[in-house]
């Protein structure tokens, strides 16, 4: 017995096996390091070159001198305004669609078709969304609205409304999928409990399912905001302006300032794009480009971070749900 064991021992520790282990280990680590170092390099460059530009002045002033000097306030304002408008459109639609898919559709043919459509929508290049926005929202919906409502040239032009709508379509799959996941994570037993107490399906969804899925839905919403805030292509033709000497604000009844959805707007990612490609003096504006990039990246990072914090918070809360 002992002898047989000792005969086997050298095989168990053969050098070949050990080498395999080491080589594959090193390779895996190396591949994992590539994206990490790429990210680190980009972040390092942006922070090093952009940090100097970030001043209070830079964040709160209008661009000056043909956008070679001054701040980027209209861009920050425009980004915030359009993402807000986008999420107001996309969230109700996406949540409603997800509720339909999880609670009502069953798993029939129609369900699978819609699921496929949602997944494909997520894979469409963003420039296609931009063109879709022009073709569908501005030229088709907008022009026809103008025609019917006799509003002259109000809807049928690029403006914040259509840019936000285009972005909303872009992030819809994100919201639908994350909401679906959140709804599916609510245990079936919770629905049964509510139904068995005499609640209707809607009462159950409203009182039991949605409150418990809140965390997941919010996470999805924040992720889609961060996605929408960074997109350039969909707004390229649908409402973004190269330069505007004013904020897209209108005074309701002449007093209350609100965002004007029919105005064009400046936006961070688009601003970076034009500063880098179409600036009067691309070298002189380099600090502005880096500064703007830093602001944009910080914004999306912040949003992603919020989403992560939310997710952890709600997962903890859900963890105490005994299923």
């Amino acid at each position: 017995m002992d002898q047989a064991l000792s005969l086997n021992l050298p095989k168990l520790t053969s050098r070949r096996i050990l080498w395999n282990e080491i080589v594959s280990d090193v390779l895996v680590r190396f591949f994992a390091l590539i994206p990490l170092s790429a990210l680190a390099f980009i972040m390092y460059m942006i922070v090093r070159k952009g940090a100097g530009t970030i001043t209070w002045h830079f964040l709160t002033q209008m661009p000056l001198n043909g956008m070679t000097e001054g701040g980027i306030f209209p861009c920050i304002f425009g980004t915030l305004a359009i993402t807000l408008m986008m999420i107001l459109m996309a969230l109700p639609l996406g949540v409603a669609a997800a509720i339909y898919l999880t609670e009502f559709s069953g798993h029939g043919m129609f369900f699978r078709v819609i699921r496929a459509a949602v997944n494909n929508l997520a894979g469409v290049p963003s420039i296609v969304f931009g063109l879709f926005g022009v073709g569908f929202f501005i030229l088709f919906v907008g022009r026809n609205l103008d025609h019917v409502l006799k509003t002259g040239m109000l809807f049928g032009q690029p403006c914040m409304l259509w840019a936000a709508a285009t972005l909303a379509v872009l992030v819809l799959p994100v919201i639908i999928v994350s909401t679906e996941e959140a709804l599916n994570a609510v245990p079936q037993s919770q629905r049964s409990a509510s139904l068995a107490l005499g609640a209707t399906k809607w009462q159950t969804i409203w009182n039991v399912v949605l409150p418990q899925a809140r965390g997941g839905i919010l996470t999805g919403a924040i992720l889609s905001i961060s996605r929408g805030a960074g997109e350039t292509a969909p707004i390229l033709f649908t409402g973004c302006a190269y330069f505007l000497p004013r904020l897209p604000v209108v005074h309701l009844f002449g007093v209350i300032p609100i965002v004007n959805p029919f105005d064009q707007f400046m936006e961070l990612s688009y601003h970076i794009f034009i500063m880098a490609t179409q600036s009067l003096d691309a070298v002189k504006t380099l600090p502005i480009q880096y500064g703007t990039t830093l602001v944009l990246i910080s914004l999306t990072f912040l949003l992603n971070l919020t989403a992560i914090v939310f997710r952890i918070h709600f997962r903890k809360k859900m963890g105490t749900v005994s299923i």
């Binding site: 509510s194 139904l195 068995a196 107490l197 005499g198 009182n207 859900m318 105490t320 005994s322």
Partner: protein
């Protein structure tokens, strides 16, 4: 001491030739055979798509009695239970043939409001499923659904329901804390309180103690015996001893059919069918 003195009295009586057997009566499980029929299922067939899950179940369930449904997994006992409050409606492709009458009314008639039916026929599930809300809100959930908003009324209902489900003493000082912080057994009793809060007449229990420790199980069983005084209870259980302990009637299901139905003490001492005997003695299969 008291017992001895009482005995002395009886002793004297007997010596004086009073041979009546008054006192010392055998306490039987309260006789419910004369209670009226609450639920009557007649030739009930149930299908999931093309699969037939129940075959011609005809059964009279007595009011204010505990009826236990036993049988091996997949025998149709839970399915039958769920036909009684139409919980099967939520499963796509489920349909029934035959009828289930509660107080003489066919609950599968087109005019029946399922939400109202489910208020009348409450259900307690296998795995305790309180909502991740406060203890108070859990119990008040049903009454609120049905339009009660008055705080004082709600408080009253919550207290009564928690008392009836024998958990009031344990939670009365922390009604605002999350129900998730209660132990498994407490959660299950909370779920029973939640059902009682909508004032049902029938309570269906789907293996209500199968996920609990022995002491919590015993508490639930005692609670069932208590509730039986005011409610009609139908309980599905895998635990035959439990069925024997808590029920007045037992139905043995096998392969979607009801093999035998009768008084629990008869089923457990002298069943008519050999299949029943084999199952309850563990000789099955």
């Amino acid at each position: 001491m008291l017992i001895a003195e009482e005995n002395q009295g009886t002793r004297e009586k007997i010596k004086m030739g009073t041979r009546t057997l008054a006192g010392g009566v055998l306490v039987d499980r309260e006789d419910v055979t004369l209670n009226p029929v609450k639920i009557f299922s007649q030739e009930l067939d149930m299908f999931y798509g093309s699969v037939q899950a129940l075959h011609g179940i005809t059964m009279e369930i007595k009011e204010r009695a505990v009826t236990a449904l036993i049988g091996p997994s997949g025998c149709g006992k839970s399915t039958f239970l769920r036909t009684l409050n139409r919980m099967n409606d939520t499963i796509p492709g489920a349909r029934i043939k035959g009828s289930v009458k509660i107080d003489g009314i066919d609950i599968y008639e087109p005019g029946v409001n399922v939400a109202v039916l489910r208020r009348m026929v409450g259900m307690v599930f296998q795995k305790q499923n309180p909502f991740p809300k406060s203890i108070f809100d859990n119990v008040a959930y049903g009454p609120r659904l049905h339009g009660i908003t008055d705080k004082a009324v709600l408080e009253n209902i919550v207290e009564e329901s928690l008392k009836k489900s024998a958990i009031w003493e344990e939670v009365k000082d922390r009604l605002d804390t999350s129900a998730m912080q209660l132990s498994g057994g407490q959660q299950q009793r909370l779920c029973i309180a939640r059902v009682l809060a909508v004032d049902p007449e029938i309570i269906l229990m789907d293996e209500p103690a199968s996920a609990l420790d022995p002491l919590s199980t015993a508490k639930i069983e005692e609670l069932i015996r208590q509730l039986r005084k005011n409610y009609t209870i139908v309980i599905v259980t895998h635990n035959m001893q439990q069925a024997a302990r808590v029920s007045d009637y037992t139905a043995y299901f096998y392969m979607g059919s009801m093999v035998e139905f009768g008084e629990t003490r008869k089923i457990f001492t002298n069943p008519v069918k050999k299949e029943t005997e084999d199952y309850i003695t563990g000789r099955f299969g």
